[in-house]
């Protein structure tokens, strides 16, 4: 029974009409509840010429559903003290409900309603489209967002689901009719290929009963599978974009990487943490900010998804300093690939990563993120329980080898965006 109350374990329940259902206990003392539907509805599924559909649908799903127009839905959430949030990614889209634990069954009903019966009211479609146009402009004009977009364009070939950020273009948005959005929803917010993760103060059987009741009419074909285009991105090497009138230059170095279930992932995770992923301790933070005084932020990320991934190292700095900072990022990348870190450095970062697990149990929302992550990647039920021992089995040489593979130089792109003329 102790295991049933352990928020670091997930429980795979029998599927409901093809919908995978996962249950997690709430952390001790928490009074809230979270549930997330994850569907094969990311922007990687946008048809060519119709880019932006996945993001628009994801936004509209949380706007209005069933008997609730957008105002009524907002009031319904306010009355419950609950929130609905959404996330769209290349491979999938998520919708999450959060609220008081004592209302978890009612809130699960609400999640089921918005996922299954969004309204796509014409005025909502128009509003969401206008908001997306502004986000497209922002992505072009704002150095940090532009740098991320250009990095992805540089790494991945045309047609690859990871190549963009899903916002599409003014032309593609204009082509999206209400009917095409309804069709996207029908084909991608499905039970087959979908996942429901519930973090609630309830046993597995109660969660499954509630899931069956709420999602009983949820039908649809087995969700589609992503097709990954092969080849290289737009162009390797250094790509610069002179955006005048801004104050800071944004730098991104990145390349293709591994999938989350790749056996090398634990060692690659540590390599990234040592390089720039672990706040304050990482080499990039220490060298660029603490010793160099050259930037406010310097870090790295490893985006390991279901079918593949990418890595990036990043910093924001002054127009007169960006070349020095790029050289620093580059040299730290070479070092992590070529030289094994010391066992002390690996220990420090590893124990930090292990030690922070209790911090994820402060609130239900934080614990829930762990469950969604493990369930989406179909990791073992005790993944987060065994994660410490997995990390402790990684040797320093394996960290270096993983860095070569997961933070590799092959296909690496450098993107520089900002007021370059001011240098």
């Amino acid at each position: 029974m102790a295991e049933a109350n352990d928020p670091l374990r997930i429980e795979y329940l029998p599927p409901v009409d093809g919908l995978a259902v996962v249950r997690q206990a709430t952390p001790a003392g928490s009074g809230s509840f979270s549930a997330t539907y994850v569907g094969p509805a990311g922007w990687g599924f946008d048809e060519r010429g119709a880019e932006g559909a996945a993001r628009l649908v994801n936004q509209l799903v949380t706007s209005a559903a069933g008997p609730y127009d957008r105002v009524a839905l907002a009031r319904r959430l306010d009355r419950a003290g609950a929130t609905l949030s959404r996330q769209c990614a290349p491979e999938s889209s998520e919708v999450t409900v959060w609220g008081p634990a004592d209302a978890w069954e009612k809130l699960l009903e609400l999640l089921a309603l918005v996922v299954q019966r969004p309204r796509f009211d014409p005025e909502d479609v128009g509003r969401a489209r206008r908001q997306m146009v502004e986000r497209q402009l922002r992505e072009a004009a704002q150095p940090a967002q532009r740098a991320e977009l250009e990095l992805l364009r540089g790494i991945f070939p045309p047609g690859h689901p990871y190549r963009g950020t899903g916002l599409g273009s003014a032309r593609s948005l204009a082509k999206l009719s209400r009917e095409s959005l309804v069709r996207f929803h029908r084909d991608h917010y499905t039970s087959g290929g979908g996942l429901l993760v519930v973090t609630a103060p309830a046993r597995g059987e109660a969660v499954r009963r509630a899931a069956r009741r709420c999602f009983r009419s949820f039908e649809g074909p087995r969700g589609p599978t992503l097709q990954l285009a092969r080849g290289r991105g737009t162009r390797g090497g250094v790509r610069t974009f002179d955006l005048r009138g801004r104050s800071q230059v944004e730098l991104r170095l990145g390349g293709p990487s591994i999938a989350r279930r790749d056996p090398v992932f634990p060692a690659a995770f540590l390599a990234n943490e040592i390089l720039g992923g672990r706040p304050l301790l990482s080499r990039l933070f220490q060298r660029v900010r603490e010793r160099g005084g050259l930037a406010y932020h310097a870090s790295s990320d490893l985006e390991a998804m279901r079918f593949g991934g990418y890595w990036l190292a990043q910093a924001g700095t002054g127009a007169d300093r960006w070349k020095r900072v790029v050289a620093m990022l580059d040299s730290e990348l070479r070092r992590i690939r070529e030289v094994s870190p010391t066992s002390q450095e690996v220990d420090l970062v590893r124990e930090s990563a292990i030690g922070e697990i209790p911090l994820s149990l402060e609130t239900t929302a934080e614990a829930h993120e762990l469950a969604v992550d493990a369930a989406y990647h179909e990791l073992p039920e005790d993944h987060w329980r065994t994660w410490p021992s997995t990390l402790r089995s990684v040797r320093p040489a394996a960290v270096r080898d993983a860095a070569r593979e997961a933070l590799g130089a092959t296909g690496m792109v450098t993107v520089v965006v900002g007021p370059l003329g001011a240098a």
Binding site: L294, L361, A365
Partner: protein, 439 residues
Amino acid sequence: MRSPRVPRPPTRGFSLDNGLRVLLAPDGRSPTASVWVWYRVGSRNEHPGITGASHWVEHMLFEGSPRYAKGEIDRAVVRVGGELNAFTDADFTAYFSTVPREHLGVPLDIESDRMTRALITDEEVARERTVIFSEREGNENWPEFRVEEELYQLAFREHPYRWDPLGRREDIERMSAEQLREYYRRFYGTRNALLVVAGGFDPGAVASEVRRRFGPLPEGGEDVTVRVTEPPARGERRAELSGPGTTPYLQLGFHAPALGDPETPATIVLDAILGGETRLFSAGSGWGRSAEHPSSRLYQALVDRGLAVRATSDWRPRSYPGLFTVQAQAAAGVSLDRLEGAIVRLLDRFAREGPRPAEMEEARTKVRRAAVLAYEGASRTGFRLGFFSTLRSPRFEDEIFASILRVTGREVRTRARELFRPETRVVVRYRPTGEANGG
């Protein structure tokens, strides 16, 4: 009838002989412990020449003290899986560390060491100067930051709320290490600090630990009352900025009450009705204001009608009278004049007619429901307890919560009439120039 109260863990408060105030909020079920130190110093304590000093000192408190050489504070907390950070506001500076509960001694030791003994060397100040510039430049990349900075500069001619806590560029360029050390010596210390510990710990043992570590510190730290009062505005003030951006953007500002003023509960309800939420009590993530609120007045008048893609209001809790702002980002093709006209008409109408009864009920419901889970987790508990205690008192949260729930529609209308007067309005508009986007 008993006044409604915000559900929160029981707390125990005491003071040390050197003046340090301590609040303990134990929760035996929590796997973490969160340590917060709040200093009653912020950009309100600065003056031209040293604007940004509070924020810079905050950075320097991570750069070394007698027991922790540069980088060791970060290392000590992060190596046990903890997280730490700090933030500087106009009215306060707060430092926090949340750690697995068995490591509570680590942040207690750090905070006791740097409360009075931060080193702030010339060398580290010089290095940090470019980091501070970089932080500011990162913000300047966003038109929203530039507009807000200009808005406060226009609205306040005397009061130190005039400048942003990041400080002015020219002051960051010139400020010396000695000026920062002097600032630190004046404002940091036991008399001007509040220590909050929340989460999983034994209160008796931690009280002893706090006395042992913080008791020997010398008495010090000045809580300075800002004597400057902002003269009443006589006429609208406005400015227009231009630069790279997406669509036109604007902010309107109106002089608004301080947190403890009697008009504040009605101002908070006004904020909830116009913008859809209030900073003090909002469901979900805590203090931020990121969600869309389709039931709010501004959203319906501007976003639903195709004039804007985002629109909200914001009243920030401040020790002294601050600003109530309205912000909107135009939809593509909508001019600044049209957007501003629509906002002004909405505010005028609201001031004439006041809220509908259903809107009042919705605002109360939002606040009441958001309060239920406001204290989930040790970190959020440390934040809320420290915030209310630093700006007012530990009991103040309950007082204002009850007051908000008692506000009437008539009071909200009166508040809107007093607030939205054209002669005290401040407007800053941002016109995107269509700069080449480097494509």
